[in-house]
């Protein structure tokens, strides 16, 4: 519904749009030709919306690429050829895409229409990431311009600015978002759509597109001293860097510099304290407007730099102040001290207006009209709800079978067993009651991590990786292990989709049920792996003989683990069992009921299988029919045949 509005909305119309949706509209108002992405919270919605609308709006190409590096390369070459391209990823995705990005940043296409915008969405507080990472220091490494919006309306406008700057200067421009901007919804006033155009004639001159010593040192000179220099002039004169409350005064001679989401928090905190202070709001976060900053600093005795995570702007402001002999005291995170005491705001975690208000109280010694401390100390005994796998999730069965296999393996072999986890829903198997994680880093790292320990120890080392992550970046590590005959067990949990971020497709997904499925070719994972010559076993849930799937899975893991220990070679187990959320979009499964006459409350189902729909109630096992999705595994494992399937008569 909203997706149609993003395309059909009229000029001047105001919609209630997500920051990410406003980015899409901004790109459509810039005449975008190509959008490529790899899903990752909080950036995924941009790609999802583009995927839904792209056939209707005449964009040349939209794809969910195999990983961020490939996404950037596909879009990068389209840019070289004369397209307006955009690439989307989350912060850690930028690490994956960073290698080609350095070449892209320096190239200078000759085509008039060429423009490229890279959308990077950070996740402060790592709500859905393995690490907390501030992507802004990449701007200094890559030496490219960047814009940071603070609300959905700015998302739309800054996207248009970014395309325009990139087209004019022939340099990639980053749009940097954080969760509270990407996932905020607000009034967004629409502008005019610009139909995409792509010239028939184009120029792919090697001297501006080929990264080699022959051309690149000259291009790099041009990048820094010409294109970035022109970007600086733009930044100095840009209406994106503006001063709010320019004439406000306060007895502390205090000014504030901020950007992005933090700007909103500053306004809120000042309001709360009835404090008036001029604010320099930076929308153009690289290159920073040196002259504007100096002029601003000179008006005050002290300036407070408010930003989330790293002290990126503060460090720059400190350097600019020193260079220009400005005596103004600069307050913030005191980035050179690595000390919490000197820091008014924390490097770690998400910022909010309350934290900014407390910092301002510390600076000014003001007494607020309301005592926030009492609210802050409100802690109540609450219901703890840890994240759980969905009811019916294939990974719950794998966790159950693996736990049983491991117990037997440990006692039979006497070996220690270690687990290496990856990024996906199965990461939840890292925690109680499974605890299958000894080392875990980032996307695609599990298989290599297992090799590191297997080469220094005679323990059994098991890598657990999902299919989406395997395609994303697990393949090189697997080939490394196969080639070196490293004795590890690799479990590829093939649920058919990139489950965690909303079941987006990857090259192994069977998309023929879906809208654009006929345009894709599914890669057969089994045949692909057979081609490597590795030892491989495949077990498929959907083809199971009635009953005993968890036990067959347990036995397979046990047997192949022994093989790894005895034959000292790598073995792969592929477990094919589709994501229940996706499976249930096409099928209706029978929910399961407890036959209370047969249930003797042995607890096997609710204690060991750990399905969120299973519990104990009145000394019997109990299935919550609002949660049960009908996978039927509990029926298979019940030793008393006390579980049966039927239609859902509950609400």
């Amino acid at each position: 519904m909203e997706d149609i509005k993003i395309v059909k909305g009229q000029v001047g119309e105001e919609l209630f749009l997500l920051g990410n949706a406003a980015i899409v509209r901004g790109a459509l108002e810039s005449g975008i030709n190509v959008y490529t992405y790899y899903p990752g919270t909080p950036s995924s919605e941009v790609g999802e919306i583009f995927t839904k609308i792209f056939k209707n709006v005449g964009i040349n190409w939209v794809e969910s690429s195999i990983n961020e590096k490939v996404a950037l390369e596909v879009a990068g070459a389209a840019y070289a050829r004369g397209a307006k391209a955009m690439v989307g990823m989350k912060n850690v995705g930028l690490n994956v895409a960073s290698d080609p990005f350095f070449a892209l940043a320096t190239t200078r296409p000759k085509n008039e229409n060429s423009a490229i915008v890279v959308l990077v969405a950070d996740d402060p507080q790592q709500y859905s990431s393995a690490v907390e990472m501030d992507s802004r220091y990449y701007l200094k490494l890559l030496k490219i311009p960047a814009l940071e919006p603070s609300n959905p309306q700015e998302c739309l406008e800054y996207t248009k600015c970014a395309f325009e700057i990139s087209r004019e200067l022939k340099i990639p421009v980053i749009i940097r978002l954080v969760t509270m901007v990407a996932h905020a919804r607000s009034n967004v006033k629409l502008g005019k759509l610009v139909p995409p155009k792509l010239d028939k004639t184009f120029d792919l001159s090697p001297e501006v597109n080929v990264a080699s010593r022959l051309y690149f040192l000259d291009l790099k000179q041009d990048q820094i001293y010409n294109r970035m220099n022109r970007a600086l002039v733009k930044s100095e004169n840009s209406s994106l860097n503006w001063i709010e409350n320019e004439n406000a005064t306060n007895i502390f001679s205090l000014g504030i510099i901020t950007s992005g989401v933090s700007y909103n928090y500053v306004i809120e905190a000042l309001d709360f304290l009835d404090l008036k202070a001029p604010i320099l709001k930076l929308g153009f976060i690289n290159p920073l407007p040196e002259k504007k900053i100096v002029a601003f600093l000179k008006q005050f005795k002290q300036v407070f730099v408010v930003e989330e995570n790293d002290a990126y702007i503060e460090t720059e402001v400190l350097a600019i102040a020193h260079k220009n002999r400005v005596q103004t005291k600069i307050l913030g995170k005191d980035p050179f001290s690595y000390s919490k005491e000197g820091s008014l705001l924390n490097f770690v975690g998400e910022l909010n207006p309350t934290k900014v208000a407390f910092a301002l109280i510390k600076i000014t010694d003001l007494t607020p009209k309301i005592n926030l401390k009492q609210n802050k100390e409100k802690k109540y005994e609450t219901v703890r709800r840890r994240p759980v796998l969905c009811a019916g999730c294939p990974y719950a069965t794998i966790g159950y079978a693996l736990k049983k296999a491991i117990k037997k393996l440990k006692s039979d072999s006497g070996k220690e067993i270690y687990f290496y986890q990856d990024i996906g829903c199965y990461t939840l198997l890292s925690f109680a009651p499974y605890s299958f994680a000894n080392v875990k880093y980032c996307m695609g790292s599990s298989i290599a991590l297992a090799q590191g320990v297997a080469r220094t120890d005679d323990s059994l080392n098991i890598a657990i990786i999902g299919d989406g992550t395997f395609f994303h970046s697990g393949i090189p590590a697997l080939l490394n292990g196969i080639y070196n005959k490293t004795p590890i067990l690799v479990m590829i949990l093939d649920n058919g989709w990139i489950g965690m971020t909303g079941q987006q497709p990857h090259p192994g997904s069977d998309t023929h049920h879906y809208q654009d499925g006929n345009f894709k070719k599914k890669i057969n994972l089994e045949k692909f792996l057979l081609g490597t010559g590795a030892n491989i076993s495949v077990i498929k849930r959907q083809e199971r003989i009635k009953g005993n799937y968890p036990d067959r899975l347990r036995d397979l893991i046990y047997e192949k683990s022994y093989d790894v220990l005895e034959k000292r070679d790598l073995h792969i187990i592929v477990i094919e069992d589709e994501c229940i959320q996706k499976f249930n979009q096409r099928n209706t499964l029978e929910v399961r009921y407890i036959d209370e006459r047969l249930c003797n409350n042995c607890g096997l189902c609710y204690n060991q299988f750990n399905c969120p729909a299973l519990n104990e109630k009145n000394d019997k096992a109990y299935i919550n029919l609002n949660d049960c999705l009908g996978c039927g595994i509990c029926e298979e494992i019940c030793p008393n045949n006390a579980i049966y399937g039927g239609d859902n008569n509950e609400f």
Binding site: E2, N187, N264, I370, C390, P612
Partner: protein, 207 residues
């Protein structure tokens, strides 16, 4: 109609005094809180308000807790309010209210809207009724329990809780039934529109 005019006056007062009206909404992943935000937000925008909403959720789709904010007034404000500043706090699952009480105003004027839906906890740590009442009374003089479960049982659908609450809180918002219904038509799939309009009416009828 008279009541509606009163609501509008009350709302104008609040918005003039503090620039905006802040609602905190809490519940569990999968309850449809985001749709709830979309429907209210869209209706308010049609009415000329500036609205901003945001969501905080880790792995909410896996049964975790979700906290959302919806703020409206004459200008766009921060997506997250300062603590101690909520005009209204809604809990779509009863015990979730405990997580957001830091947003209640010190003068005890925040309206607490609590559905009687209780989702059992796997740790058997669901708070007792006495504790619940005691804590709520510590925080507000305006506690509103919304009996959604009888309506849920009647329509045999757990997903309408938010729409019932929406109907209930309409008495406090500067929006009419028709305006909300327009947004319901816009944001729900065709086969769910009638059900949700009925749920909305049930919520409006509640005392």
């Amino acid at each position: 109609m008279k009541k509606y005019v009163q609501t509008m006056q009350y709302m104008e007062e609040i918005i003039t005094n503090s620039n905006n009206y802040t609602i905190v909404i809490t519940g569990l992943g999968g309850q449809g809180l985001i749709r709830f935000l979309q429907i209210i937000g869209n209706s308010l925008i049609q009415k000329g308000y500036k609205v901003i909403s945001s969501e905080k959720h880790g792995l909410s789709q896996r049964g975790g807790k979700v906290t959302c904010f919806l703020r409206f007034g004459e200008k766009i404000t921060a997506p997250v309010p300062i603590i101690g500043s909520a005009d209204m706090i809604i809990a779509a699952e009863k015990a979730c209210i405990f997580d957001v009480l830091e947003f209640t105003k010190r003068d005890r004027s925040s309206k607490l809207i609590i559905a009687d839906y209780e989702k059992e906890s796997q740790n058997n740590d669901y708070p007792s009724e006495e504790y619940f009442i005691k804590v709520l009374n510590e925080n507000s003089d305006h506690i509103n329990f919304v009996p959604v479960m009888p309506i849920v049982a009647q329509y045999k659908n757990l997903k309408i809780i938010n729409t019932i609450i929406l109907g209930y809180i309409l008495r406090f918002l500067p929006l009419s039934e028709e305006e909300i219904k327009k947004s319901i038509n816009r944001y729900f799939k065709k086969d769910l529109i009638v059900l949700n309009q009925k749920a909305l009416e049930e919520g409006i009828k509640l005392k």
